[in-house]
């Protein structure tokens, strides 16, 4: 009803019931992480290839690549273990 307040809904944990036998929620999360990290790796490789091939030997190329790798690895560490050296202080 339009004049009724919104009702909170629960997260779609019911979807976990549809997982195949022997495939746990933990395994689903692990596979989701594999997909994300594989996407990140491919995207990063493609971008680095372009930086190195087309940046006309610019001095910005290597700091840009290094910054990306450093921040990405910190975020991955945070995602996997809650610990991301300099990032942990700034994230919840």
């Amino acid at each position: 009803m339009p004049n009724q307040p919104f009702q909170p809904f629960s997260p779609p944990t019911v979807l976990l019931l549809y997982l195949p036998d022997g495939f746990s929620a933990g395994a689903a999360v692990a596979w989701a992480l594999y997909v994300v990290f594989a996407f990140w790796a491919i995207y990063t490789l493609v971008a680095i290839y372009h930086w190195l091939k087309y940046s006309h030997a610019s001095w910005i190329a290597f700091p840009a690549i290094a910054t990306h790798l450093l921040v990405s690895l910190a975020l991955m560490s945070y995602a996997l273990s809650d610990q991301a050296f300099f990032f942990t202080n700034y994230l919840p």
């Binding site: 919104f6 909170p8 840009a64 991955m76 945070y78 996997l80 919840p92």
Partner: protein, 178 residues
């Protein structure tokens, strides 16, 4: 191998890109989406009907932290990709020509050259309040062939660029005795 080779006696006068402010505007969606998990709970807490949803953003659980880390990683990677494309789009002025390098997306690149000997007219255009304050504008370079026009959009200090082009065009014409 370089995309274009400098001819004997040719040297690069200036290399320029779109104004940094335009890049920041391009970056804005990435920043807003990256900060959404931090802003939304506060926003939901302010609106009583939405307050129950604020609980979804509890980052004390390992799964929520994993989700947050992955979310930030994706937007960081996207923003870095935007910077890569910004940097790889460039205009290079040499004493012989203007080279326009367009990186449409990854694996889609266009490099075109306009020789100064063909330049007939150079027009600068600065439109709007912010472009006027930040000195961002477009340069249109008209060639001898009437239908060929080289347009450089959103470049910083367009008048300075136009002066550089015209200076080298006149030098070129003097050298060729025209």
């Amino acid at each position: 191998m370089k995309e274009f080779e400098l001819e004997p006696g040719e040297h690069v006068v200036k290399e320029t890109r779109k104004h940094w402010f335009l890049f920041l505007i391009e970056l804005l969606p990435y920043v807003l989406l990256a900060f959404a998990p931090f802003i939304l709970p506060k926003f939901f807490a302010l609106a009583p009907p939405l307050a129950p949803y604020a609980g979804f953003f509890d980052y004390q659980t390992p799964l929520a932290r994993t989700g947050l880390g992955v979310w930030l990683l994706l937007w960081w990677t996207g923003a870095w990709g935007a910077f890569t494309r910004y940097f790889l789009n460039a205009w290079i002025f040499t004493n012989e020509r203007i080279v326009n390098i367009k990186q449409h997306r990854y694996f889609s690149r266009e490099v075109s050259s306009l020789f100064l000997s063909r330049v007939q007219d150079v027009t600068t255009e600065v439109t709007g309040v912010l472009p006027s304050l930040l000195n961002i504008g477009d340069i249109k370079v008209q060639t001898a062939a009437e239908d060929v026009e080289f347009v450089m959009r959103g470049i910083p200090r367009p008048e300075e660029m136009r002066d550089i082009i015209l200076k080298h065009v006149s030098t070129k014409l003097q050298n060729t005795g025209v």
